[in-house]
């Protein structure tokens, strides 16, 4: 009987998929880059960039996360389905965080203003 599900399209039916084996150079290179970026993010936090500190920290964190996903998690060598699954999860996570933060910063000044109009309770 011919199976109808989950036959990896790149390989013939029944043939074992040739896995991508990460080379020691790629593994060590990824780890080295992650350590270098960690040193960079610690150093950048000691320089006062005002609100840009958090932007730099997040940009470095996103770069590190991409390196981990592409090489340690070998996403670069997987079929596109895996990338779509994790990509859509990340997309919705970013939308969630961003929209809620935009929203709260929008109405926060109004709350402060309203709080000032309410007379402080006597202790």
């Amino acid at each position: 009987m011919r199976p109808i599900v989950n036959q990896p399209s790149k390989h013939g039916a029944g043939e074992p998929a040739a896995p991508h084996v990460m080379s020691p150079r790629a593994l060590l290179g990824t780890a080295g880059a992650l350590l270098a970026l960690t040193a960079f993010t610690v150093a950048s936090s000691r320089v006062n960039l005002g609100e840009w500190n958090v932007v730099v920290a997040l940009a470095v964190a996103c770069t590190k996360a991409t390196l981990v996903a592409l090489f340690f998690m070998h996403l670069r060598y997987e079929s596109r389905v895996q990338a779509v699954v994790v990509g859509s999860a990340v997309l919705f996570a970013v939308l969630f965080v961003a929209f809620v933060v935009f929203d709260t910063t929008q109405y926060q000044p109004d709350i402060r203003e309203a709080a000032e109009r309410i007379p402080a309770k006597a202790p």
Partner: protein
């Protein structure tokens, strides 16, 4: 499949692998399906943590000065040390997949054991951080009353400021996020212990390494979360 049946099946070279579940047509299909399932799980983990990152974002956006003040209570050296520990454990985890794919049993055992040891180092460092804070009254929510001793250890700029009334808000976020991450590390340790026992019985090789790959992917996700937690909690500029 029982142990005896598995051995018999292995003895017969023409028979399918004893690790091929009956509902899969081939080992390749089994591997691809397991991977897709695991990536779906990792996607749900990303969404799960996104709720906490949203809470972090809301509190930090509304309490900018509080977050800057509170981060002085965290020792960035401990955070950086744990970052190095996690990166190293990720290297050994990724290498364990390579060893399994190449059928290098000795290398597999070594990398699995190293990952387990590094994971426990991470938790030991975390334990010292937590106990130092809790012994000095730095708890979460309303239970945050820092002792004179820990206040004296803050940098000069922070020491000059009055202790904010809502300092516990930051530490609620800190304990929930790092605590949940810590639970993930604990689960990872359990999984690596399980892999070690299976690897020592010779279960994994070039033909079958799904569990090694799956646990490594989970372990990389635990590192991914920490990659964001470290700068967001310890390095507030």
């Amino acid at each position: 499949m029982s142990g005896d049946a598995a051995r018999e099946a292995r003895a017969d070279a023409a028979a399918p692998s004893p690790y091929l579940a009956h509902h899969f047509p081939s080992m390749a299909a089994q591997l691809e399906t397991s991977k897709l399932g695991l990536w779906l799980f990792l996607g749900s983990e990303v969404l799960f943590f996104s709720g906490l990152f949203t809470a972090y974002g809301v509190f930090r956006a509304n309490h900018w000065a509080l977050f800057h003040y509170a981060h002085h209570f965290l020792d960035w050296r401990m955070g950086a040390l744990n970052t190095v520990v996690l990166v190293s454990s990720n290297l050994t985890a990724a290498w364990s997949v390579r060893s399994a794919q190449l059928g290098d049993r000795r290398g597999l055992l070594r990398n699995l054991a190293l990952t387990l040891v590094l994971a426990s180092v991470f938790l030991v460092v975390k334990y010292f951080e937590y106990s130092h804070k809790l012994h000095n009254g730095v708890g979460w929510g309303a239970a945050c009353h820092p002792s004179a001793e820990i206040l004296a250890s803050l940098p000069d700029a922070a020491r000059a400021l009055p202790v904010p009334r809502d300092l516990g808000v930051f530490f609620s976020v800190y304990y929930v996020m790092t605590g949940l991450h810590g639970i993930h590390v604990l689960v990872g340790m359990g999984l690596y212990l399980w892999l070690l026992t299976r690897a020592s019985r010779g279960h994994f090789g070039a033909g079958y390494y799904v569990p090694v790959d799956a646990v490594a992917l989970y372990w990389h996700l635990v590192d991914l979360i920490w990659i964001f937690l470290f700068p967001l909690l310890y390095l507030i500029g």
